[in-house]
Symmetry: C2
Subunit: 183 residues, 2 copies
Amino acid sequence: MSLDREQVLRSAAALLTRKSTATMDEVARAAGIGRATLHRHFAGRDALVRALENLGIQEVEAALDAAALDEGPAQDALRRLVAAVEPSAGLLSFLVTENQLFEGEEVNEGWSRLDARVSAFFRRGQERGEFRIDLTPAWLTEALYGLISSAAWAVQDGRVASQDFQYMIVELLLGGARRSVEQ
Amino acid sequence: MSLDREQVLRSAAALLTRKSTATMDEVARAAGIGRATLHRHFAGRDALVRALENLGIQEVEAALDAAALDEGPAQDALRRLVAAVEPSAGLLSFLVTENQLFEGEEVNEGWSRLDARVSAFFRRGQERGEFRIDLTPAWLTEALYGLISSAAWAVQDGRVASQDFQYMIVELLLGGARRSVEQ
DNA sequence: TTTCGGTGAGACATTGTTGTCTCATGTGGT
DNA sequence: ACCACATGAGACAACAATGTCTCACCGAAA
């Protein structure tokens, strides 16, 4: 029977999200296949991680598309984005950490595309007068990634309810912790 | 000549902050000592990481003390805290990531203490009416860690100016990205 | 100068992971 | 029923990192 590459990647993502140092053997067992088979489909650990990278980028890109960041108020668009990216949060968190290990080496161009799109979105929000202009789009982008990762771990560790995922990220990123008079 | 344990830990922290997978050999060379000597002072990699953990906890705890979180407006206290913790941001980021690998195992009690103090601070801010009450102290604590880590990496990669470190974290955490009428 | 303690360098065994290979099995398609 | 092919299991070598050990060296103190 031909192996379901997609399903293998899913379970690998689920495992590596929890334990980023998992062995090829562990990944294989988690996917319910033999290590040899895993190796036949992914030349090595690098290839596996790269495949996961492509999967993650693809998912986030799909989330960006689904969120239609160009349409309507930027604040609403951000809500849509966070909601759409939530299922990929764990994988995204893993990949961000993994990317930090590639110091200087060639990084998947996909990340640049994502960064560019998210940054452009924040810039649009600034131009619409919805977002402050003293926080750079680059920083807002980083902060969004960071909050998504933090939230993903907090949910996984049970420190935060999973149903609050979207609300907490968006509310903090948009409104901050300060209690304001309006809104 | 007796080895300067403190200096070794500093350089180890600096290296592991940039490359979390650095070898004992690399750590030794970065500290300008032999691997054998490194091994004489830290029984193994675990011991080294645990020593770094204690160092990081100690630094953050000192930052908490220095920030005097109990005094005055919570917003000002947060500014003081972020400013005080900035030098330890990289190490903190490394340790947070490292801790995620210890799934379930005994975690250094120091983290609980830090979490408790930071959470208590956010709670105080809520009780003073300065912070919103719809975002839990636990989440605000996580978010603070996440933003500090993100900022540390962003600065290290040159995506953000280091002089903006404190401002960006505090402003985003307090006020959020939304452009508001007041403030 | 001699002695003592810490150090650097290197050798070494050990361990864990990776990557490759072989072979028996079993399932799907013909 | 037969064949082709993918798989699982296991053996295997290669490799990297760890942890231990020895030995020569050197600087400080007596």
